[in-house]
């Protein structure tokens, strides 16, 4: 099987190109980084507006309160719009292509591109929102302490994201986020010193989401540099060009291309 990357070929066998091409395509994480930056900026905007709203409310500044509520609403709207709009998808694609520059574009999903996610997985995605809403309600009505917010989230997010990573056949780097997020929850439950204090309680969920996301993306990007170097050297060394004499003869026979064997 030529195209199976599972086969074990000897070092230098050209068929190893298949494996390294996939590894490289799977670890191109710049598009995730671009999305990460946009989302962090918008979430920070919402957080800033929320802090302003709270401060204005406490100090009784009605105009500032109204403005910050409007700003918070617009930032939340922008986040939702960014997540679903075609324009933002094209923007991320353009920035990604620009950042990859001469490397060009390559993709590997391992799945039929026309095949959509199975219904049960889409259903689990919807359940994700309902589950977190339930957690927020339990905290609001004092049925659950806020310190359990991240472990509560991880109990759903970790297995759900692992399923997504497996289904979408993402590279090994994509495992890092759910695994680290799950381990963080375990560390919090064990009382290890990884928690933010009372005034920064929200950071106990925001920081793991963004920090582990960034770690996973950067590890993926670093691996893609290695995979690309390996792919180039393997492609050019495992299938050598013919010698010049044969190549010249081939050019004549073959309309300007290098020689046929």
């Amino acid at each position: 099987m030529t195209t199976s990357a599972k086969n074990q070929y000897q070092a230098g066998d050209p068929r190893q190109i298949v494996r390294w091409a996939r590894r490289y395509a799977q670890s191109r994480t710049i598009s995730f980084l671009v999305q990460w930056v946009f989302i962090v900026v918008m979430v920070m905007g919402i957080g800033l507006a929320a802090s302003l709203t709270q401060a204005a409310h406490q100090e009784g500044k009605t105009a500032t309160f109204a403005l910050s509520v409007i700003f918070m609403f617009l930032a939340a709207l922008a986040l939702v719009w960014f997540s679903v709009s075609r324009w933002s998808g094209e923007l991320v694609f353009s920035i990604t292509n620009w950042l990859y520059g001469r490397e060009g574009y390559v993709s590997y999903s391992g799945n039929d591109p026309d095949k959509s996610l199975p219904l049960w997985l889409t259903g689990l995605g919807g359940g994700l929102l309902a589950y977190h809403l339930l957690g927020a309600l339990l905290i609001s009505f004092n049925y659950m302490h806020i310190k359990y917010m991240q472990p509560w989230s991880a109990a759903y997010m970790t297995p759900y994201l692992i399923l997504m990573v497996v289904y979408q056949r993402l590279g090994f780097w994509a495992w890092l986020w759910p695994v680290l997020y799950g381990l963080h929850a375990v560390a919090l439950m064990l009382g290890l010193p990884v928690r933010f204090g009372r005034e920064l309680e929200l950071f106990n969920i925001i920081a793991p989401i963004f920090a582990y996301g960034l770690i996973a993306i950067l590890v993926g990007h670093a691996y893609s540099r290695y995979a690309l170097r390996k792919l180039k050297s393997l492609t050019q060394s495992s299938i050598p060009e013919y010698d010049d004499e044969a190549s010249d003869a081939g050019e004549e026979k073959d309309g300007g291309s290098p020689a046929n064997g």
Binding site: R15, I17, A21, R102, S257
Partner: protein, 98 residues
Amino acid sequence: MDDLDRTIHEPARLRILTLLSGVDEADFSFLLNTVGLTKGNLSSHMDKLEKAGYVTIVKTFNGRIPHTDFRLTPEGRSALEKYWEELDAIRAMHDARE
């Protein structure tokens, strides 16, 4: 050696097809950067592979910017698999003689 598909047996085209067999699609810049050919040579090889029915060209637009990707066709995939099988058989025969 006579049985080997000469379209595939050419080193540059073998590189291109092997690369494409590992991914869903790739664009011209990626192939240029990885395979190590000049633009003219790569274009010429892609033309030959397209004419042989081994690759398909997918033209899309990202906004107003045109984007050209290449994909291995099912015919290209099975021809490449057959090529490797035949090459393995030739190598095995050669090893047996030695």
